[in-house]
Symmetry: C2
Subunit: 382 residues, 2 copies
């Protein structure tokens, strides 16, 4: 999707891909297939590029330092990106900034989890690997000490630490997305509501329909402050919990707590490709190139994006293309994005976006199309 | 730009390009560099493709017949495309359909031009090569018999015939764009006004601001009828003159006369990428794949597209990228498309699109940006 934005801007892209079959490699001519954990590979791909950027956070921090030291501008840079790579580093930094997070503690054994749980009102608590998790992997909600085994097995196998966090009783999850350029310009997208299932982003509504306007402003302020303090360049997505608790003394309904940071175009920003004046992929490119940012404003009152996950039912679960005749004929306003991936159950293989004046209508259209592509229409409870 | 739409739809594209440096070859991994006039090259590229389509009309008609006979669906097919390749064939067919055109005659010498001129009220008349012209090339406005030499020299050198047409005293030029699928579904875009300079498209306004609503409907009807009668698949652009003459008996102001046909995504449709629910490139792909078409409706009251032509003044005329900081900072709502072409005076190297509620504002923004990229801001009289 970055490639689409690069075509518009006339910006040449060179890609390092994990394999020839990955989505980006299918659409970027100048592709090197190689391992992003190998410094020599990174060096050879970076040679001659004006700027190095990322669509995931897993490039080793030390390699980014090496590239930066050798004169390759990495945007975001390693000092920023480490906060999206290591949740313990992120939590410590946000605490230092006074940005509200769920209560948390790095834990090294079950006894420490029990101790932490006691300090936050008891189980359940959330255990997370500090590095390497995504889409619900590396995250466990544990009901008691006997449920902590998996997390510590993974920790001892991989050598990463475990972070314990309070399980927040949130009303809904939101995401505040900003683009920030090296010069310090920031563009803040409308705050969206995201619905997760099994730790995977399922549906995003822009703007978040039930979010108190003051909380929306606070969420944007937090995202802008984090972007500036951490010197983020490119897109920063700040995923937050919006709670129903009254915040102390402010008179606002509820408060927001930072859950995760991502420093790249993010699933909660996909709505912007069709729903905002400037999509997140274009603003990511503009930001890392230190070009003036495009307007992040929405083009319609409501935009809903629903991910297409690989389904388990029927023919469409293997041949997404077969979903087109129905989906496109039913809704000529719908925007479909398929990623060219093999369909596997639960895998994100595309998304659909609908926009318009009536939220119920927009939601129904997007949900129907995604359910059809999944192949489980009628099995959807919504 | 077709590649961008193909990425969204997850449709793999194979490209036959004239050279490795052309715009499309820069962004399509599966590119063959070769000659579109060579049947063997066409065959090898078409092998394994579900459908063959075009971004220009110059593939020899007989090769398209050969490909079609060998089982490669060509969309548009050769029977349709010949009307966009050969102006004499097009004029004869439109006459047969009763579609209004400027008066015209195929001429083989100056005496026949004089005879034709006398029949339409005298010089000036327009001479055109029946094949191979574009962007003002192969078109001459002649003031008298002594000015016909160039056209007939070209005709004798290239072996193509010359078509004489009356010089229409039009109020403005319009374009009616439709997408049509093999099943016969048609999506008609709002009729736009296009401003030409030296035979090259300069500026497009959607919808055409001063076009009588009845004439707009007539223009769409003509485009839909031509698409159906000629069995066009994909995008058909019908460029027309809108005249100020009262049409006989109808009470409408003026009438429309067909000037040119194009069967491919067309410069007068570039506004739709950012200005319509479904851009022309996406609808071209949907149409040639016989998928349901997307809505062609405009997303804003006014959309203005201005081509960026290679300029002759200043540094920006060679380095378009240097135009970004000013253009993007001045107008965060602007959409810029650069084509990755070397800048030469008069060459189309990109376009800008602005949209909004106020036509004067939208126009000013698009014109300013294009003039800045051209490098002749301040020398623009508008």
């Amino acid at each position: 999707m970055t490639a689409q934005a690069a075509v518009a801007l006339g910006v040449p892209v060179r890609l390092l891909a994990e394999g020839p079959e990955v989505s980006a490699a299918q659409v970027v001519p100048d592709t090197t297939v190689g391992d992003y954990r190998d410094l020599e590979t990174l060096r050879s791909v970076a040679a001659g590029c004006a700027v190095v950027t990322f669509d995931h956070e897993h490039v080793p921090t030390e390699h980014l330092h090496a590239l930066a030291a050798e004169g390759h501008p990495c945007r975001p840079g390693p000092e920023a990106l480490v906060h999206a790579q290591d949740k313990a580093v992120m939590r410590a930094r946000l605490d230092g900034l006074g940005v509200p997070s769920p209560r948390h503690r790095v834990v090294s054994d079950v006894a420490e989890v029990e101790d932490f749980a006691a300090s936050v009102g008891g189980f359940p608590v959330v255990l997370k690997t500090t590095r390497g998790g995504y889409d619900g992997k590396g995250v466990w909600v544990v009901d008691g000490p006997e449920a902590c085994g998996t997390a510590f097995s993974v920790a001892s196998e991989t050598g990463v630490a475990i972070l314990a966090e309070e399980k927040v009783d949130f009303r809904f999850e939101i995401s505040a997305l900003v683009a920030r350029s090296p010069s310090g310009q920031v563009a803040a997208y409308p705050v969206v509501e995201s619905v997760q299932r099994d730790g995977i982003c399922w549906e995003v509504t822009a703007p978040a329909p039930d979010l108190d306007p003051d909380l929306a402003v606070e969420a944007q302020r937090i995202a802008m402050r984090v972007a500036a303090e951490l010197d983020v360049t490119g897109i920063l997505a700040v995923e937050m919990f919006a709670t129903g608790e009254p915040s102390t003394g402010s008179g606002r309904r509820g408060r927001v707590l930072v859950n995760e940071l991502a420093m790249r175009p993010h699933n909660t920003g996909h709505w912007s490709m069709d729903g905002a004046v400037t999509g997140q992929f274009e603003n990511h490119l503009r930001a890392v190139l230190d070009l003036p940012l495009g307007s992040p404003e929405a083009r319609a009152p409501w935009t809903v994006m629903v991910n297409i996950l690989g389904g388990e039912h029927g023919a469409l679960s293997e041949d997404l293309y077969a979903g087109y005749p129905h989906v496109l004929a039913r809704d000529p306003q719908l925007k479909v994005h398929l990623y060219g991936k093999d369909v596997k159950p639960g895998r994100k293989v595309g998304h659909v976006t609908a926009y318009g004046d009536d939220l119920d209508d927009v939601r129904e259209r997007a949900r129907h199309a995604a359910a059809w592509f999944r192949g489980d229409l009628g099995q959807e409870s919504e």
